[in-house]
Symmetry: C2
Subunit: 526 residues, 2 copies
């Protein structure tokens, strides 16, 4: 008996832009240039332009599986370069411009990229990075950057626009295995050497479908989405795939993510959904509080990448009139783990929602054994799914346990309704007198105070106890006594957890991805 | 260089129920029994019960790839049987109880199913079908049906509940290739022999993810979904996968889909989303108009399976206070093709929305050559995607053209915004004097009259012209003159298209899937 079958269809990412070009040809990607002007281009034209990028890369020697690096802000050029690389089966290695030249050089050496696409203002950093290591043979400037001949550039610096103009958009896209790699992103490496996460077409395709679900990101064709989260930060959380997949408008803010710039873009473009780390929305709120005005089109803000302090969430929702949707993810998860369902009345600052189909969670003890009770107790969080790392780039060994679970390094609780609450990082725990103190628990309590913008607890070396916790706070213009800062801790945690010192900082140091930089804090105060 | 990888994860349908059991254990499937009572069971218990079904089937000799048939209404037992079959890698062959015993016997002979799961009230039909052909060795009654020993049953008739009670829910699910078949559904066969469409795990998994998108069905965990569309009708349009995937409540109405029954269920269960062919909602409206009362919880109705007459759409929206979402699909598409986005202000009765990512459309001429202009002109509709049939059951040859497109047999137009409008069935066209007349175009015009419930145009043999069109209308209690029925045609179509006769019918004959039965009409009036 012959069974019959459904059609072949490889889950490759080029299909998202091809779909948008065919079914939403005039829906726009809007790109804010450094000079304050705004460029607009429809998906049909973007599709042609991106295929011209593929043609140019092919002419320059790039083949399927080769890494092509980008060092760029969120811009039309970066978007075209991205699809140009991915569509032909090459691997887009995104570099974070907030890292040092030395770090970038080490990453380029690992990825062996021969071509580097660069935002014009990042050319000096690109040259410095190349001097540190790697095999880059060509730099191509994005976004109308003109070719440059200068002594300080050790490799040819061309213009992608000029290279594209030599091509016709007739290169075939797709036609490779859906398990092929499409991207490479190094973790922020807050401890030890950064690890490269290889994204695959299948993994990102399924991640996109999960995000499109009404209970997850639920992006619609009528949405205008502001991608504040950078494309070098774990695929901009998937937005370059998710938004074209439904033919939505995508707004790319370029280099600047300060409150004034975001407010102007939200107003001029009618942004409905903003996506980025909590601190950028704090900047927007502060701008509006200072300058006045509103952002009436904004309906929802999806935050992730760091925990959302309760006071900040309330302040954002009140000032912006938009719903804050919390989420949790990490580079190794492509990157979304869980998200609170839009409109969920039980959403709360520290709660990151339930997993949607395609991602599964398991709490274990420190030895990796599953907790008998998965609802309530704190455990080490492991995850499984088609968009979760199996092996890191360059590694022969799997990063998962014998049952296929990946250890996130996070500590978490899952409530009776299945909602995830990240309670800390295993490696952030402070060992005091042989017992563990969880900084995240205290940060949540102090962060809930309306006067506190950001709070961090770190361990300080102590001759008697090994380590003792100290509290760092950023309060802006608000005034608050030390004892008031400690009051929620006296009620909420054991007395020996209470920090030994309180340090007020003007600006909390933030890592390249916008999270509080605990490495820096430990170096300065630990 | 070692690329790195994402985790293995087979796209198999057992994962939807396993996910629901773990993350939404208490969310219910509600099943209306023939005696008027209602059964409720949470996904965790359903998961255990369904795995007990797998255990029982395994003991009775079923192995991966084997077909197991069902002849059943939408009920808890059918749902459990369905997942029990599919979860272990067997193939669920759904039979339509509105077909004749002879047709059913022919289908059973094709599928070679050895076990048949049957709703208790359908046992006589099951016995009659088995007498016509096939290889059924066991009948198992669903939904607490007790084992029967009677002379007229030629094969043993057991009780699935009794068989399940002998099993523990510890059989492994999944662990087979995602391209494996999961279901078998014969087309309604309105012309020629019915063809079997083989559904696959991968095809239905990706179909589910497409449906979950906010711009398609957008089902949410907070929804209560009434599945009026039968599970034997192209997987109940995917609802047995889609609703557990998000942990929504699923209401199964059993045998009866009359207005009184639906109104009672919607009210008692707080249904938010109703899914079924247009005629069932007409029944609901007529019931409410007669008996009074409202269905305030109902927010949206997804219709498909037949074109939605404009007057009926307006009447439904006004009387029920719910939004009607139009869609188009077919058995061969798993089955959803396109759907109007929820809340789309441009939605209209004859328009079925844009394709979402994962399905693509092409208009061709009658020879299969793509139309030069895909926007505006009428053409023959072809489709492609991972949930679209490649080969029919039992066929060695592909059902697609050289470029992989499947010819739907539908005629359609696509407007400048990409919205699909089905304009007719190629095989319904009437050839009059050597020229083609499209009945669907006239049906839409006449169907727009407020007095008309249902309208059909068919060809009648004519000695001079070959065929001439005649118009059949169902008007209920409304009165309307012949000339008033023809008025929209005199304005909207060529004069030689005007039907030669008008026939008023008390009840339009409906095929087993709820569509107007043109075969019957042609037999009676052609």
């Amino acid at each position: 008996m012959i069974d019959g079958s459904m059609q072949d269809y490889a889950l490759t990412l080029d299909k998202f832009l091809s779909h948008a070009a065919k079914w939403h040809p005039l829906a726009e990607v809007v790109s804010a240039a450094p000079d304050g002007t705004v460029d607009r281009v429809g998906y049909a034209e973007l599709h042609d332009r991106s295929r011209s990028v593929s043609g140019a890369l092919y002419r320059l020697g790039v083949r399927g599986g080769d890494r092509v690096a980008t060092l760029a802000w969120n811009s039309q050029g970066h978007f075209e370069g991205w699809y140009g690389i991915i569509g032909m089966g090459a691997v887009c290695h995104t570099l974070n411009p907030r890292l040092t030249a030395k770090s970038l050089g080490a990453m380029l050496a690992q990825s062996e990229a021969a071509i580097l696409l660069v935002s014009p203002d990042l050319l000096p950093l690109a040259c410095a990075a190349i001097a540190e290591g790697g095999a880059v043979r060509h730099i191509l400037l994005l976004d109308k950057g003109a070719a440059i001949t200068a002594a300080e550039t050790t490799v040819p610096v061309g213009s992608l626009e000029v290279e594209m103009a030599l091509e016709s958009p007739d290169i075939a896209w797709g036609e490779f295995d859906e398990h092929s790699p499409c991207g490479l992103c190094f973790t922020s490496g807050t401890t030890g050497a950064p690890k490269g996460v290889t994204y695959t077409h299948r993994g990102c395709y399924l991640h996109t479908m999960r995000q499109l679900s009404a209970d997850v990101m639920g992006v619609r064709g009528t949405d205008t989405v502001l991608a504040v989260v950078p494309m070098f930060h774990a695929n901009a959380w998937g937005l370059p795939f998710t938004v074209p997949a439904v033919g939505g408008r995508l707004v790319l803010p370029g280099r600047h993510s300060d409150g004034a710039h975001l407010a102007a873009l939200i107003r001029s473009e009618g942004v409905t959904l903003g996506v980025g780390v909590p601190t950028v929305w704090l900047g927007l709120v502060e701008h509006l509080e200072k300058e006045g005005g509103d952002v009436p089109s904004l309906e929802r803000i999806l935050v992730g990448g760091a925990s959302m302090p309760p006071a900040l969430m309330e302040r954002i929702e009140q000032r912006l009139g938009a719903e804050v949707q919390t989420s949790w993810g990490m580079t190794e998860l492509s990157p979304l783990g869980t998200a609170a369902a839009p409109g969920d009345p039980r959403r709360a600052p520290g709660v990151s929602g339930r997993p949607a189909i395609g991602i599964d969670l398991l709490l274990t003890d420190s030895a990796g054994l599953p907790l008998a009770d998965q609802r309530g107790p704190e455990g080490h969080l492991r995850v499984r799914g088609p968009s979760v790392v199996d092996r890191y780039f360059g590694e022969a060994e799997t990063a998962t346990d014998a049952d296929g679970w990946f250890d996130t390094g996070d500590l978490a609780r899952i409530d009776t309704d299945g909602n995830l609450r990240i309670t800390g990082r295993a490696k952030d725990l402070i060992k005091s007198g042989g017992e563990w103190i969880n900084p995240a628990e205290m940060e949540t309590l102090v962060g809930a105070l309306p006067q506190v913008s950001l709070a961090a607890v770190i361990g300080r070396a102590d001759p008697k106890w090994g380590e003792r916790p100290i509290l760092l706070v950023e309060t802006g213009d608000a005034e608050i006594e030390d004892e008031a800062l400690l009051a929620p801790l006296r009620k909420g945690v054991a007395s020996w957890w209470i920090p030994d010192a309180i340090i007020r900082v003007d600006r909390m140091p933030l890592a390249a991805t916008g999270k509080i930089d605990k490495i820096q804090l430990r170096a300065d105060y630990g």
